[in-house]
Amino acid sequence: MTTTNREALLEKLADLDAEQAKAVAGGGERSVARHHQRGKLLPRERIELLIDEGSAFLELSPLAGWGSDFTVGASVVTGIGVIEGVECMITANDPSVKGGASNPWTTKKVFRAAQIAEENGLPTVSLVESGGADLPTQKEIFIPGGKLFRDLTRSSADKRPTIALVFGNSTAGGAYVPGMSDYTVMVREKAKVFLGGPPLVKMATGEESDDESLGGAEMHARTSGLADYLAEDELDALRIGRRIVARLNWRKAIPPPAPGSWAEPDADVEDLLDLIPGDLKEPFDPREVIARICDGVSEGNAVAFDEFKPLYGPSLVTGWARLHGRPIGILANAQGVLFSEEAQKAAQFVQLANQSDTPLLFLHNTTGYMVGAEYEQGGIIKHGAMMINAISNSTVPHLTVIMGASYGAGNYGMNGRAYDPRFLFTWPSAKSAVMGPAQLAGVLEIVAQASAESKGETFDAEGFAAIKTMVEQQVEEQSLPHFLSGMLYDDGVIDPRDTRTVLAICLSVIETRPYSGTPGYGVFRP
């Protein structure tokens, strides 16, 4: 049985690797070779050189655009890396994919990166080389796309430095990325930054011109002043970029806990693969997950997990733990269903975390709030609303991991994407939809049958079976992690065994800016 769980999850992880490999492959072998021949590096190669040696890089939304007509990854790499000891949001166009042109998924991905940078107070380093917008889909890009430049200058106004390293084309609208950045570095003979190229200028004013005089790095460094630094080559641009960050005089609001002041988890992280059932109908004990992602027992952490209200609302586990030495509060589904007790317990626990300024971690495996006359009469909506109220107005940082099921209003109450957790990651074992595919199809059938009967028609059960299967299939597909991640409904699908590391990075990043619990909530209906 355990091998089955492991096998099933390993297969999903292999799928994940294969999909992420598509993003890494960018525009494909020939395009990559051509790019390399020009003495240029790929976005991830640039990032590897930009960040501190051996430091981690948490790539965000790597599956953006999955299932669309565009290449997985959406021709841009975004993620959090450490440069000269400073956690930065890094965005890097992938010029091997259609010249780095932006498509609708590109803008969504870049906006999400900007949102993370804003919420967590991170400097942004843009590695620019993009041929502009994908013209066939311009209608989805052009109008919302302006936000990109607005985000850059607002970042600057918020004292979150913005640095643009321009490696190639950055023309038309793209010219505003260096234009709006605090610092710009341009690579000699490679960077090209202008509003209108020679043909457009000729059409507009009749003037004869060339690329260099309109937007060369040398011109911008010596004449226009748009470039603050002229880099000799790509490596030099990355070197200068690192020096700029080194001189930001960056200070985090909360210093990190002393290294070595905590212990690794008491249980083996490998077991996580055995723990998650292949069939999500089977519940699993989230305490087993907590024991594998939170700090183990050590001096100063006498108990790894102090459970709160263990005897009340047992379908939701709440309690306190530490992760890489940082205190967190955890809400984790234990039995799938949320009852009134669980909702009330959650609302109280969220308030307690806000009282003590403790970040919260939500571990999803929920099929939603309980339905039925007894529960409706018991006030399940009222209590669910309390939970959503508390979570919506909570101001301590929230982290969400969708481990298994995340259905219905359970997704909301457990701080799903719409509730803007600082970070949200998904395990390959997850599924998320308004309800389970079979239930949804069944509901559709009942509704259709009732409709037919009300019109006095006979319900064609056999004929509906085909529709039911199709709907079931579609909902199943659309509730899978790759699809949801492709829609930017999470920040990435991760190997469960990396959860601790991912959360540790997120908690560290969160400490860039101060945070505190909320002074008030919406009206609670007791």
């Binding site: 590897e48 040696e53 981690a56 890089f57 000891g85 956690e87 290294p259 992280v269």
Partner: protein, 643 residues
């Protein structure tokens, strides 16, 4: 066994209370050690370059000799005697090298009313001229090599030697008559600069001879003969490995050698410690007098270990006019290896730099006489010897094994040495079989330890762990962690790139299992064999020590500021040294290979030649300038191809 010296009454009777050692580094420290044991106070002298060396700290008093070059410091007899007076020293020990065989200095010491720990100035003079010495020895019945007056083709090869020389300085082998004249000239120049005496002579060169020497001590009661040493293992006529007793010597020959040594010492009424050097032709079982060194030899410890004596103590006793008593027996076997700061792979170029770590294990019959310690700066101003490592054991094979082991376990970082070569020699079956000759090293390729694929990997992973330990954020996140894996981490050394992957399961490297990694120690499993590597980092240099050997790697920085890049056509100093000559003027046209300037480091002159044909656009140095390795000395701009 002692022949009572005829005029023992004239040997004097004094008591040394405070001894000045007119020398530096290893030998100064060595003499101080005996002084401390005997209760004699010590005075060190030091040049500016040596101020921080251990021997200066070890001495009770220290006097600075301003300047760096030997001529400004250790060769300044006036300053040395002045130092002795100022510090109240009542005796002077000259050590070896420098003024140890300078009769005028010995006289000046005596004239100043100080005790001279050495032979009579007359003895120094008699033996100081090799030409005169040979005559005295020939008269005393000691076999000598005949120097041909007019060398012919049949006399080749020949050896040109400085009459006042020692330690291989000014010595040159001539294999064609046409070379004789210029080599004599060069030897003369070298001798002039090194000893202030340009006299040279020529003698037949015994190609595969052995160098065997006899230790004598002239005492008030007669000449003591303390056995012989074999010093055949040489490079560039400088001894590298010495031992006692000499291996495989027929007993009769040994006795004859000892007798010849005694005869030599007696011929000049020698007093104190001295060494009579012979060239031994193994094939013919014949030996010839080479020279007599009227001082303590570098390799004296091998004699001390097999004879159970302290030669410095004997020297002091003789200087005080006391009789000495030593056991006549030789016990076991002792081998000394000279650890030099030099690169055997690059024609023994002297090396300089800071010894970031210098630890040689002692005990178990291993003795270390070192002039340097961890943190010491090694300059090329003086002899390149860092330390002598001497091992004693009941047999020669066991002594060699101990010595090789001590050397291989030593931690020597920051400066390249001949350690690997020494270990290879000591483990060489030919050496262990007693096949030693002066040609031994030249006939063998410079063997380093077999290349170890683990060393660069260990270096890369230790560096990664170091970087991790130095992090200010995300400290406990595994090195090189990626949620989307696109490429390995790369750690670049000048000798190659190590690619590794990090992550939750630790480090992964192709073909090697990483057992554990910390900033100082990496354990790897290669072909099912587990090896622990100790890693030390100093700037860009990464030093890796393991049972598989020592490897020094140099990191290639990730980024180089273009402003710091070396100009093309730049001529870099191949080693630290002094500019002796600038051959061209700025603006001169040169052909590729034309000498641009000449650099002297240690005893060698190195010509820095134009790499390409072109114009000399920059000359950054003048004669006399001290330059560091890698310094841009001049720039030659390549000429445009003429159509």
């Amino acid at each position: 066994m002692l022949n009572r010296n005829a005029d023992s009454a004239s040997w004097g009777d004094t008591m040394i209370g405070r001894l000045l050692v007119a020398n530096r580094a290893e030998i100064a420290g060595r003499i101080f050690a005996t002084c401390r044991r005997l209760g004699i106070e010590t005075v060190a002298v030091h040049s500016d370059a040596d101020a921080e060396l251990p021997y200066v700290r070890e001495a009770d008093h220290a006097v600075r000799l301003p300047g760096t070059s030997p001529a400004d410091s250790y060769l300044r007899a006036d300053l040395l005697i002045e130092a002795a007076k100022r510090t109240g020293a009542d005796a002077v020990h000259p050590g070896y090298g420098f003024l140890s065989e300078n009769a005028d200095f010995a006289r000046a010491v005596l004239d100043a009313g100080l005790t001279w720990v050495g032979p009579a100035p007359e003895s120094i003079e008699q033996m100081g001229s090799k030409i005169a010495a040979k005559q005295i020895m020939a008269d005393a019945g000691v076999p000598v090599l005949d120097a041909p007056a007019e060398p012919a083709e049949d006399d080749l090869p020949l050896l040109v030697k400085a009459s006042a020389g020692g330690g291989g300085r000014g010595m040159r082998v001539v294999r064609s008559l046409a070379d004789l004249e210029p080599e004599v000239e060069r030897a003369r120049a070298e001798a002039e600069s090194a000893f202030g005496d340009g006299t040279v002579f020529v003698e037949p060169y015994v190609e595969r001879g052995r160098h065997v020497e006899v230790q004598v001590v002239g005492t008030p009661d007669g000449v003591l003969v303390l056995g012989e040493r074999d010093c055949s293992l040489q490079r560039r006529h400088q001894k590298v490995v010495e031992e006692s007793p000499a291996p495989g010597l027929p007993e009769a020959t040994r006795e004859a050698l000892h007798a010849a040594g005694r005869a030599a010492a007696e011929a000049i009424g020698y007093r104190g410690a001295g060494t009579v050097e012979f060239l031994y032709d193994e094939t013919a079982d014949r030996f010839y007098f080479l020279e007599m060194n009227t001082r303590l030899q570098v390799e004296h410890p091998v004699t001390e270990l097999v004879r159970g004596v302290d030669l410095v103590e004997l020297q002091l006793a003789v200087a005080e006019g006391r009789s000495v008593c030593v056991s006549p027996r030789t016990n076991g076997h002792a081998i000394e290896a000279r650890l030099y700061a030099e690169d055997p792979g690059a024609d023994y170029q002297p090396q300089s730099g800071r010894l970031t770590r210098f630890e040689i294990p002692t005990g178990g019959g291993v003795r270390v006489d070192a002039g340097f310690a961890t943190g010491s700066e090694v300059s090329t101003n003086y002899d390149a010897m860092l330390a002598k490592v001497i091992a004693w054991a009941p047999t020669r094979e066991r002594a060699a094994r101990r010595l090789a082991d001590a050397l291989s376990r030593a931690r020597i970082h920051g400066v390249r040495t001949n350690r690997d070569q020494l270990v290879a020699v000591l483990r060489d079956p030919a050496f262990l079989g007693g096949e030693v000759s002066t040609a031994f090293l030249a006939e063998r390729p410079v063997a380093g330890p077999a290349a170890d694929a683990g060393a660069p990997v260990a270096a890369a992973l230790a560096l990664a762990e170091r970087a991790r330990a130095a992090r200010v954020v995300q400290q406990a996140v595994p090195a090189g962690w990626r949620n989307v894996v696109s490429q390995p981490q790369r750690t670049e050394f000048e000798t190659g790139v190590v690619e590794w992957w990090g992550g939750r399961d630790g480090y992964r490297v192709g073909g090697i299992t990483v057992v554990s990694a910390t900033p100082e120690r990496v354990v790897l499993e290669i072909d099912d064999v587990r090896t622990a590597y100790d890693v030390a980092v100093s700037g860009l240099v990464v030093e890796v020590d393991s049972p598989r050997g020592h490897t020094s790697l140099r990191r290639v920085p990730r980024f180089v500021d273009p402003a710091d890049a070396v100009p093309g056509g730049g001529l870099l100093a191949p080693m630290p040294g002094t500019v002796v000559r600038v051959a061209v003027d700025r603006g001169a046209h040169v052909a590729a290979g034309d000498p641009v300037l000449v650099l002297e480091a240690m005893k060698m002159q190195h010509t820095v030649a134009a790499p390409v044909a072109g114009t000399v656009t920059e000359i950054n140095v003048q004669p006399g300038a001290q330059v560091a390795a890698g310094e841009v000395l001049a720039v030659v701009e390549e000429a445009e191809e003429q159509p």
